[in-house]
């Protein structure tokens, strides 16, 4: 009980001087509210940038081009195709084949979030011998596929590949442009090679590195390609689509994957300025947060020292009637910490609330939620910062008090 006496007296002092307690609490309220609110908005904005970045450049394509010498560099192997106009491609570039097992090694590379093999094959139409690109995609990696190839949200008619419920299997999904030129609609049948597939969906993907004209599942594509190859496809793929964790890690991830495949990496360069923007914002958020914290501590320091100077005589009297510097020091620490705690608590609540309101006004328009869980975590950090800072301030004041003599403040004795 005696140990808690300084806390009890400190609490009484808050009630005795409500104006000062309110001023200190208000300072910490504003500091923590700003700290939490700004940090939360910065993080939400950062998430938005990341999301935007993922749509345009948070991924890349790894492949091994077909060598003009006719000799592939391991682990790549040269595919032997039966028709001279056909072959595995990335865009307009003919490629070698890579072991699918490289996918695991790529997935473990730094900065890589996910990887998916894709069969992208340029072939002749059985109908009128026009060339088109067939994409065989592995649907077991829906997120990587969605961000690098085509997404269910981009379906303009029918359903996404693999979601058809008919008895003929997943069918074929067509690119919007190809379907328009070739006059295919959902429900039509398309003949690819020797097989016929129902058109189950049409998708408008926009700019994607592995955009194809016709999409089949990996299994259907592999079966369809078998007679067009002079040797079995086996466990090989034409390219890997690689999803990265963040734009800032893309260069490292690209370098690591290039070492594994020994081939070529293609990507859109928009990740570079975007990565810089993200980096700048992260640094700005960090600096603002640190500045706010320092401001709060300095404010507390100023207020607490102001109180110490103002109450020097009071402390001198208390020491003269038998209060030890240790007890008064503990009281000073409590006096600093109590308003800081309540101010910070209110500030954390206000910060989260303000970020929710402001975030929904600004970021809600692009469909991104404010990370509320992070908000409470930031709030806890803000409270911890406030307690640590005010505790240090109280401690400094206590040390100063301890090294003074009561008579210094009671000169009239």
């Amino acid at each position: 009980m005696k140990a808690l006496e300084p806390m009890r007296i400190a609490w009484r002092e808050q009630r005795r001087r409500p104006g000062r307690a309110l001023a200190v609490g208000l300072g910490f309220l504003l500091a923590v509210a700003s700290f939490v609110g700004f940090s939360l908005l910065f993080r939400a904005e950062h998430a938005m940038e990341e999301a935007t970045l993922r749509r345009v450049g948070g991924y890349f394509v790894a492949f091994s081009p077909l060598p003009v010498t006719g000799i592939a560099t391991p682990p790549a192997t040269i595919p032997r195709v039966r028709h001279p106009d056909e072959g595995f491609v990335v865009g307009t570039v003919l490629t070698s084949l890579l072991p699918r097992s490289l996918g695991e090694a790529i997935r473990r590379s730094p900065g890589v979030a996910d990887v998916v093999p894709v069969l992208q094959f340029r072939m002749k139409s059985a109908r009128d011998t026009h060339l088109f690109t067939l994409g065989g995609i592995d649907l077991s990696r829906p997120i990587a596929v969605a961000r690098t190839c085509c997404a269910p949200s981009e379906v303009t008619a029918g359903v996404f590949l693999g979601q058809a419920t008919g008895t003929e299997g997943p069918g074929a999904m067509l690119d919007n442009g190809y379907a328009s030129v070739q006059e295919y609609r959902v429900g039509d049948r398309i003949t690819i090679g020797e097989r016929s597939f129902p058109v189950t969906g049409i998708v408008n993907t926009g700019i994607r590195p592995s955009r194809s004209d016709v999409y089949l599942t990996w299994e259907d594509a592999a079966r369809l390609l078998a007679p067009r190859l002079e040797e079995p496809l086996g466990e090989r793929t034409g390219l890997f689509l690689v999803e990265v964790d963040s734009a800032s890690q893309q260069e490292d991830a690209m370098a690591a994957v290039k070492r594994i495949t020994g081939g070529v990496i293609t990507s859109y360069n928009c990740f570079r300025p975007a990565a810089k923007v993200v980096g700048l914002n992260e640094r700005a958020a960090g600096i603002v947060s640190v500045l706010l914290y320092i401001s709060a501590v300095l404010f507390g320091l100023k207020t607490q020292f102001g109180a110490l100077v103002e109450r020097r005589r009071e402390f001198g009297i208390l020491r003269a009637v038998g209060w030890s510097g240790r007890v008064l020091g503990a009281q000073l620490v409590w006096e600093a910490v109590i308003p800081a705690f309540f101010g910070a608590l209110a500030g954390a609540t206000l910060g989260v609330g303000a970020a929710l309101v402001a975030g929904n006004q600004v970021l809600g328009t692009v469909g991104l939620p404010i990370p509320l869980a992070e908000g409470w975590w930031l709030g806890l950090q803000g409270i911890a910062f406030a307690l640590a800072g005010s505790g240090l301030v109280g401690l400094a004041a206590a040390v100063l008090l301890r090294y003074s003599r009561p008579a210094d403040t009671l000169r009239t004795i």
């Binding site: 005589r313 030890s324 007890v327 009671l410 004795i413």
Partner: protein, 229 residues
């Protein structure tokens, strides 16, 4: 014959202050001894260092030279916290200007001397109230010092000093700002402490305190104690 204990034993006390780079000697060579149950009155004109001497004897300040023993404790040899403990348990100081805490009410001011001791909150409050009643201001316990008359403030200050039943009482002009009737009551309480509990009482005054009530009277002049004329 009962052996009397030295409650206060000061030898060769010197103290100077520095103002604008110039040394102002206040106490040159002060020695005194005060025993239990004894009253010593130190007289002297204003500015002769009486209050400074009291501050040193109460452990609120340290002398430049000399040794001060309070109830057997050398004040220079112990920590500030130990000195505070000594004041809480053994020494009571009545300040010339009362030194009441302005934002604390009367009973809280008295209770301040009992804080951090062995008493619980209820016992503290009861004892503080008892002393305020004994000094005739039991009906003003909730008033702030600014709401009390000078005489009432002095009574609160005396109550705060005596509430701990100190063995050594250091009083600086205890009747300086009060009417004769109040002054007489305060003197009575101080005398009772000496008589009933065997406390030692040291009073410094420039003339408001009746020197005849002391067992011994000395005068502080030019920083030296001399027999009162």
């Amino acid at each position: 014959m009962t052996e009397r204990t030295a409650m206060l034993d000061a030898v060769g006390i010197r103290k100077s202050f520095w103002r604008s780079g110039r040394e102002i000697p206040v106490l040159r060579d002060v020695s005194l001894r005060l025993e239990a149950g004894e009253t010593l009155v130190i007289t002297g004109r204003s500015g002769t260092g009486k209050s400074t001497l009291l501050s040193l004897l109460g452990g609120l300040d340290m002398p430049d030279a000399g040794r001060i023993g309070v109830c057997g404790t050398d004040t220079a040899a112990v920590s500030q916290d130990r000195l505070a403990e000594l004041r809480r348990e053994t020494v009571g100081i009545i300040f010339q200007n009362f030194n009441l805490l302005p934002s604390w009410n009367a009973i809280e001011n008295v209770e301040a001397a009992l804080m951090h001791g062995d008493l619980g909150p209820t016992e503290r409050r009861e004892r503080a109230l008892r002393w305020l009643e004994r000094l005739g201001i039991g009906d003003r316990t909730e008033n702030l010092p600014a709401e009390l008359s000078v005489g009432q403030q002095q009574r609160v200050a005396v109550a705060r000093t005596l509430v701990n039943e100190p063995r050594l009482i250091l009083a600086d002009e205890p009747t300086g700002d009060v009417d004769p009737e109040t002054g007489a009551e305060i003197i009575a309480h101080l005398k009772a402490a000496v008589r009933d509990r065997g406390a030692a009482l040291l009073v410094v005054t420039h003339g408001t305190y009746p020197v005849a009530s002391g067992d011994r009277v000395v005068r502080l002049r030019d920083g030296i104690l001399e027999p009162a004329g």
